[in-house]
């Protein structure tokens, strides 16, 4: 199965019942598969007029209780930024798939990249926090798409599946489990205000049409949901809560594998480079290489770095100019070596072996 199809199948298994999208290479197969499957399942697929409309329709649908998703790539992702902030501010569960391609601008539509890793974290204006997942296999395209929905439902924030052309267009054999664990957003309890957070910092969700008579706005709002835009405490408390509800659970959200935590040379990877490192570990058992594979990059699981007590270097191959390397470097005193690669191809084993030579 192709990676993009596995993503669509994962979404359907997770209960996605609304898809709003716009065609863009190399993500289009996600929308095409949803267009084929959803009408037959009594779910809603709509091709919108652009990516701004796509994310808007997704957020609108989510307020009716739908599990809603869109899929895009760099240029479309840039267009979505304002409304991603709206989803953050209004605490709307939604899943945004970005099959990354070479940027900036139209760049390399058919080639792979990971250049939007910082954009998904910081691209919309204002302070906020989000969750981003990074599959490195077709199997993970399925599994992490399911997780993305479950995390969006739980944390009520935009959740990103930050994949790339390599994994999106890769074909691998996958196992689709008979039972997929799905989660639903916590409903608003009677007597509680619509934006009054519980002890987990997350309010119950007032689905439209159930009599809550909720007002939803991107303006700074109070617990009732009503605009209150000049009170500095209300604004500060709200923004801090939106960040803290995710960041305070960073260790719980974290999802990574580690190998050889006594190694001196440690690779930290996500997406395609994970495959390259796994290949050299298999080919060169004599080298005793440490490896961290991140399945969730945001919130960044900084604690993983301290599990490697003997590390002399963290080598981070990325298909960008070192976006996550910079994030890793601020959490450790161990040297971080960024191995950027642009142009559309994933790292090959030779490049990684060459980079680690001076640390052997």
């Amino acid at each position: 199965m192709q990676g993009n199809i596995a993503c669509a199948e994962g979404a359907l298994a997770a209960g996605c019942n609304f898809f709003g999208g716009y065609p863009i290479t190399p993500s289009t197969e996600v929308a095409e598969h949803m267009a084929k499957k959803m009408p037959k399942m009594g779910r809603t697929f709509i091709q919108m007029e652009d990516e701004i409309a796509s994310i808007s329709s997704v957020i609108g649908a989510s307020w009716t209780g739908a599990k809603a998703m869109t899929a895009t790539s760099g240029p479309g992702f840039s267009l979505m930024m304002e409304n991603i902030g709206y989803a953050v501010m209004t605490e709307t569960p939604c899943v945004i798939v970005n099959i990354q391609r070479g940027g900036p601008s139209t760049g390399q539509p058919t080639m792979s990249a990971q250049g939007d890793m910082m954009q998904c974290r910081f691209g919309s204006h204002g302070d906020f926090s989000i969750i981003a997942l990074t599959p490195s296999t077709v199997q993970e395209m399925f599994e992490l798409t399911v997780r993305a929905f479950n995390l969006a439902e739980r944390f009520r924030c935009p959740v990103f599946l930050m994949s790339d052309e390599t994994i999106g267009h890769m074909r691998e054999r996958i196992v689709i489990p008979e039972i997929v664990e799905t989660k639903n957003r916590k409903p608003l309890e009677k007597g509680k205000l619509p934006f009054e957070a519980d002890s987990d910092l997350i309010p119950g969700f007032p689905v439209f049409g159930e009599g809550h008579r909720v007002h939803v706005t991107g303006l700074t709002h109070n617990a009732k949901g009503y605009p209150d835009t000049t009170n500095h405490k209300i604004h500060s408390d709200l923004v801090k809560r939106l960040v803290e509800k995710v960041e305070s659970k960073r260790h719980e959200i974290a999802d990574y594998d580690i190998l050889n935590n006594d190694a001196e040379i440690v690779f930290l990877t996500y997406g395609p480079a994970t495959r390259t490192v796994r290949q050299i570990i298999k080919d060169r058992p004599d080298l005793h290489i440490g490896h961290i594979n991140l399945r969730i990059v945001w919130p960044f699981p900084e604690e993983v770095l301290s599990e490697f007590k003997s590390a002399k270097v963290f080598i981070i191959p990325e298909m960008n100019l070192g976006q996550i390397s910079r994030e890793a470097a601020r959490h450790t005193n161990v040297p971080v070596l960024s191995l950027p690669k642009l142009g559309g191809e994933m790292h090959n084993p030779k490049e990684l072996l060459l980079a680690m030579e001076e640390y052997l």
Binding site: T64, V214, V216
Partner: protein, 265 residues
């Protein structure tokens, strides 16, 4: 028993933020009167808006309401209506929100002919940001970004909705309260997208700069410069000239193109 007009208002949100003499309240009243006549339920109706003075209106309506981003109300509304066609969906928007930043969503919502009611409070200006020119600011009118008089030709929103495919399109003004209410109701009764353009006065940002300082000056101006669409057509048929400084009011379309999101019980 269906809810009364008072029940449709979120009374705890009063006083509202609209300026003295603003016409938006009139449009909200006409809309809610139409809703009452329709016999809709509060909990089965969703009001949606974008950004601008008009877009603050759903905050004063008792239903579930979605106050979204600038220009995007129709795209959000598309998501709501296509996910749950059983809801009655009403969008409040303004001339800037709908026809400048939201122009693409406007024509596509009309093309899809999604079963919802779109009410545009056209005050011919960006009121919320202090009176900049919009695509509906009349040629020659003064605004803060057209200090020497607006020079760009304007959109005819009611005609645009017809051309783009809406099943219902009408234009009235805040002077024509009864006609406006009837048009909104007729729109709500028509399956598919209904577009009602309500010309409204903005004495603060428009009137003050254009020698219509009093709210009544602007209402009188709209009264005196509007011409019934049927009369305009008749004059044209008879080969007579239609005065340049008038705009047509009335029903521009009521038809039965294929529509989306129509709820089948």
């Amino acid at each position: 028993m269906t809810p009364s007009l008072e029940e449709w208002y979120r009374q705890e949100r009063m006083p509202h933020i609209f300026c003295t003499g603003c016409g938006n309240g009139t449009v909200i009243n006409c809309t809610l009167n139409a809703v009452v006549e329709m016999g809709w339920e509060i909990d089965n109706t969703i009001f949606i808006s974008g950004i601008g003075c008009s877009s603050r209106a759903p905050g004063y309506v008792a239903t579930d309401s979605l106050h979204t981003t600038h220009g995007r109300a129709l795209a959000f509304a598309t998501g709501v209506k296509m996910a749950r066609p059983e809801f009655n969906v009403v969008v409040f928007t303004g001339d800037g929100d709908l026809s400048a930043i939201g122009g693409n969503h406007f024509i596509h919502a009309c093309r899809r002919n999604i079963d919802m009611t779109v009410i545009c409070m056209n005050n011919m200006i960006y009121g919320m940001t202090g009176g900049q020119g919009s695509p509906c600011t009349p040629v020659g009118a003064i605004s803060t970004t057209t200090p020497y008089g607006a020079g760009e030709p304007v959109f005819d929103l009611a005609e645009l909705a017809v051309a783009a495919g809406a099943n219902y399109s009408a234009r009235w003004t805040t002077y024509h309260v009864k006609e406006l209410t009837k048009a909104i109701k007729a729109g709500m009764e028509t399956p598919g997208l209904s577009f009602i353009e309500a010309m409204t006065q903005c004495p603060t940002s428009f009137g003050r700069k254009n020698r219509q300082r009093q709210p009544s000056d602007m209402i009188e101006h709209m009264k005196n410069h509007s011409i019934l669409l049927s009369k305009k057509k008749r004059l044209e048929e008879e080969g007579k000239s239609v005065p340049d400084d008038t705009f047509a009011v009335g029903e521009f379309a009521r038809r039965n193109r294929p529509a989306m999101g129509v709820y089948k019980k």
